[in-house]
Structure formats: structure tokens, C-alpha cells
Symmetry: C2
Subunit: 318 residues, 2 copies
DNA sequence: CTGAAAGCGCTAACAC
DNA sequence: GTGTTAGCGCTTTCAG
């Protein structure tokens, strides 16, 4: 009754005022739980990310949370640790809590579970990653373009031996960045020199792959790190080997992050438009929840190359 | 009925099996909403932080989320942006969602609202910050010790002109770190040289205060930055001025963070025990929720000084 | 052992 | 204009 529908039911103003005052004085708060149970609408959405500790996902969470809260929704955050079973459990818990919708950075390879949730009246929107043949709407970076441009940029500085250190191989971002990398090489007639290694978006992976690459005789003159985490490992390994960036080896990374400007040298990177991505995912989800418009938005945002000082001209030919 | 209380009610095994199978085949999921309404227990806790974008708070959130989920609870994360009114609104929303308890990094100066929530059957535990005279349990770093040791460390390198760049002045961590700073100077007979500036845990604040300090004639030989954000601003200003760390000016920061190892030089800092802090806050909260033990735990964790390369001996006396 | 019924706090429909 | 009631899906009590 205290929900602003007074004039809809044509209750007298006096009564409204009386009740409102009494309610305030006793500091009454309606139970959103009961309300949700009754109306089948909780004004809550679920957000699942594989590691809130990763600044990239923290950024996504930050924009999603502030955007939903601006629009009158609450966000329940679940950290899936990148584990498909935790993701599944998280989704189920959210559904049985009757969230109105779900935004998820999917970790698994199988869209089935999420698609079935989506069909069962809880709209799902993918963010950052998506599945190849999927009915689910998504918002992601144009990772192909990112990989292409990063590699072209390196080639433009005369690099011909460019190591690409990859994240989780089956994930769409990794696949697309890799495809961009390969196409850039191909355009330059360097396809024979392609060198792709690694299998995880982690510091450890960046470290090991770089260490390995630097130990061999055919040392790359540039490295394309597919994420900020991989980058850190790469930098560590490079430092340990006594080489300097960019004089001895050039580096380009993915992901934008304040700290990258403070490294020495500041790291040239492909920046994703995170706040736009978050805002769009929320917008699409709420539209679907509220039943207006566009049920299958599939959006790719163009990344931006942020040029810093981690790339120099390749020295000699091998 | 499908809650494992079968033998408590002595239901026949056959029936149980039958129902269970049927439930699974139809893929039945109990409504946690209805359950919560009925039992007044939602197995959900609320977590409020002032900015999930800040790696420090992202770390806290990460440990709190993984710890609660390990113990069978779900976490609802609210980003208060450091605004007391958003915090209040967030807390109210959580309460009316019947969360079983709340963990909060409080932004305001007034404990009243939170204390009243706590008295009204929703236990509240403070983390990172707390209020001076409060009944609310808290877990925090021994910030006094952190400020003391950071400053002593600098003094040990012969520094006598140490600028302390402060975060939000009324917040307990800032006050305690400041007190530690002052006591360290006093012990060394340097109390006349105390220099405290700034009023926010932000890059901007660090930048401006450093810029200002470097522009004057009485340039400090060392800076104690009270947070990782302040530190970034400080570094930027130092770089712009053409000075080098640590040769021309030494720097010590607060907060541990992977990236600090990758800056050049790596930054000596006072590291807080975030995972212990998060785990303890969860433990205390769940104990209070489940009615066992210790209603007013007030815990301070000793920080650790992580020594890197951002401090050198002071050159000459002024 | 099993079935029926009350009630958590709310909203929407319907009677007054 | 206003008061009453059913029912959201669950748990728990009480009869059978």
C-alpha cells in the first residue's frame, strides 16, 4: 500500500498521509523478500565473474554495479574462480533467489546450461566472452581487431619474430585475438613466423612462456601478451633475463589499467571499453527483463590502441 | 521436505527415494526466496565497500566472497562509492532483503545507523575501518604500527624531512597511520619536522600534494604515502619533476599489491593481511549469526613491511 | 509414518 | 474510497 499506487486505487489523501507518517515514525521497511515472492520480481540481478581480484573483472563489476544501482536494481556478485562447476552452482543459486536476470563472463565451453536458464524466464546476457553458435545476447570487445592492430603495430616497427602468449585457448577472446595476430602476420607475408604459446590468463603462464621463449636460440624480438596478467609474468621473465624493454625486446599487452602507465616503460596496450561494455550489458539485460526490445543484441566494441613506450624498432634481421 | 530432514521425521526410505528422483528428473529447485521468508534466514550476507575498483577493496571482496561461499553463504556486494548516503541506502536494502548479516567498510563518521541495524537483529561487522567508541565488532590492520614502522624505516635511512600524505582525515586508518608517523618522529626527536598533507585516498590527492611539496624550497627527502592510490599520484608527480626514486627522493607506501613489485623501482610498503582480515570478518559474522560466541571481537592485525628498492639513504643534511 | 493446514509479509483482485 | 482475502513456495506443527 505504501508503494506509490495510492491514486491508482484512489485512496484519500488524508489516509495516505496518516499511514505514511505512522510508517515513517515506526521506521517501517517493506520486506523485499515477501514482495519478491508475491510479484515474482526482485529487482536484483546476478553477476558472475571469474575472479574479482583481476583488475579487468573488477572494472567490469564496478561499472555493472553502479549502472544497475543507478537504475534501481541490486547486484549479487558471484566469483566463479573460472570454474565451470562453481559457475553452474552460482547460477542455480541466483535463479532460486529469483534474480530478474543474469550477466555472466562465462567460463565453460558449453552454452547449454545458460541457454536453458535463459529459456526458463531468467534472461541471461554474456559479457566479455561468448559462445560461437549461441542464442544468448552478448557484449564483448572486437578482439579480432585488437589482436590485428596490436600485431600490425609491432610489424610496423620492423618486428618479424613476434611471440603471442595466449590465454585460455577455447575462450572466444583468446581465439579472436589469435586470429587477429595470425591475419596481421599473413598480410605482411610473415605467416611462417607465427609463434603462439600458453594457455591461461595468468601471471604464471606469462612468466613461464616468456622464460621458455627467451631461453631458446630463436629469441623473439617482440611479445604480444594477451592480458594484463600475462603481461606481468612476461615483464618479470624479461627482467630476470637482463633484457630491457623496449631496447632489447618490445612488448604489447591487452587490457587497459592505470598501473600500466606507471610501469617503466609504460606499456603499449589494446584498451577495451569496459565502462561502455558494462553499461550496454546492463541496458540489454534490463530491456529483456522489462520486455522491451532487442532480444538478441550481439555487440562488439572496437578497442583502442594506447601507445606508450614499450615498443621500439627491431634491430637487425636474423 | 527435500532438505535432508527425512530421518528426523522418520519418513520411509522408499518415499524419500521416489520423491527425490521425481524432483531431480523435473529438475526442481527450491525457492530460496520462499524459504527465506518462512525461516527468516536467507544464508546471504551483505558486503559494502567504498569502491570495488580499488584493488585493495577488490582484494577484501575477493576473500570475503570466497570465504562465505565456502561456508555455504552467498554475498551481495554493494559499492557505496564512499558516500554515506549510498551506504545507508545499501544497508537498508540489504536488511529488507533479510540478509543474515552485514560486513561493511564504513564510510561515514556516525556509527549510529549501523549500530541500530545491529541491535535490530542483523549483526554487523566492520572491516578495515571502525569507529572510536563503538559496540560493533571489527577487524582491521594495526594501522598505528604500520605508520610507526614505515616512518621508522625511513628515519633509519637518515631521513629527517618526511612528508606524510594522508587519506580521508576522519577515517580511523588515516588517523592511526598518522599517529604512528608522529610517534616515530617524536622518538627520533624530529617532531618539529612533521609534515602532514592531503585528505583523500586518491591518485589525485597524491599527485597534488606531491606536486606542491616538490615545488617548495623545503623539499622533503622522503614521502610516506598512505595508500596505493596516493602512491600512484606521488610517483607521477615525482616523475614529472625529473627526480628519481630512490636516488633523489625515497618513498614508502601502504597496501600490498602485485603491481607494486613491477614498478621501477619496486615500492617498499606496509602490507596489510587482507586474506586473514576477510576470513576473520566472515568468521566473526557467522558466529554472531549462528549465535555462538564472541559478540564483540575487536581485532587488529599487525601489518608487515615489505622491503623493496624505493628507499635510499638521505644525502646531505639541510 | 503421512497428510493437512497455518503462516512468513506482501500485492492484487474483489467485495463492500 | 476502503476493507478483506487469496496465495506466492516454503517449513513446521499438529492430526490422523
Amino acid at each position: 500500500m505504501l508503494n506509490g499506487k495510492a491514486n491508482k486505487y484512489r485512496i484519500s489523501e488524508k489516509t495516505v498521509k496518516l499511514i505514511t507518517e505512522e510508517a515513517n515514525s515506526r521506521n517501517y521497511k517493506p520486506s523485499l523478500l515477501a514482495k519478491g515472492l508475491r510479484t515474482q520480481k526482485t529487482n536484483t540481478i546476478g553477476l558472475l565473474v571469474p575472479g574479482i581480484d583481476n583488475p579487468y573483472f573488477a572494472n567490469i563489476a564496478s561499472t555493472v554495479i553502479s549502472e544497475t544501482s543507478r537504475l534501481g536494481y541490486t547486484t549479487v556478485l558471484v566469483d566463479t574462480m573460472g570454474a565451470p562447476d562453481l559457475e553452474r552452482a552460482g547460477v542455480e543459486s541466483l535463479v532460486s533467489r529469483m534474480v530478474d536476470g543474469i550477466i555472466v563472463v562465462p567460463s565453460g565451453q558449453e552454452p547449454d546450461a545458460l541457454e536453458s536458464i535463459d529459456r526458463n524466464r531468467t534472461p541471461v546476457v554474456l559479457i566479455d566472452r561468448y559462445f560461437e553458435p549461441t542464442a544468448l545476447p552478448y557484449v564483448t570487445t572486437n578482439n579480432y581487431e585488437g589482436g590485428l592492430n596490436a600485431t600490425k603495430y609491432l610489424i610496423g616497427f620492423g618486428h618479424r619474430d613476434i611471440l603471442c602468449i595466449r590465454g585460455v585457448p577455447h575462450s572466444m577472446p583468446a581465439r579472436e585475438r589469435e586470429r587477429g595476430y595470425l591475419d596481421a602476420l599473413r598480410e605482411a607475408g610473415l605467416e611462417d613466423r607465427a609463434r603462439i604459446a600458453g594457455n591461461d590468463f595468468s601471471i604464471q603462464n606469462g612468466y613461464l612462456e616468456t622464460k621458455f621463449a627467451l631461453s631458446g636460440s630463436a629469441r623473439p624480438t617482440a611479445i604480444f601478451a594477451m592480458s594484463n596478467t600475462i603481461l606481468l609474468g612476461t615483464i618479470k621473465a624479461i627482467k630476470e633475463s637482463g633484457l630491457r624493454i623496449p631496447d632489447d625486446i618490445s612488448v604489447v599487452s591487452f587490457d587497459n589499467y592505470t598501473y600500466l602507465d606507471y610501469l617503466d616503460p609504460a606499456i603499449t596496450r589494446v584498451s577495451q571499453r569496459i565502462s561502455e561494455m558494462g553499461a550496454l550489458a546492463v541496458k540489454i539485460l534490463l530491456q529483456r527483463i522489462e520486455g522491451t526490445g532487442n532480444d538478441d543484441a550481439k555487440i562488439q566494441l572496437s578497442p583502442q590502441l594506447i601507445v606508450c613506450n614499450s615498443v621500439a624498432h627491431a634491430h637487425g634481421e636474423k
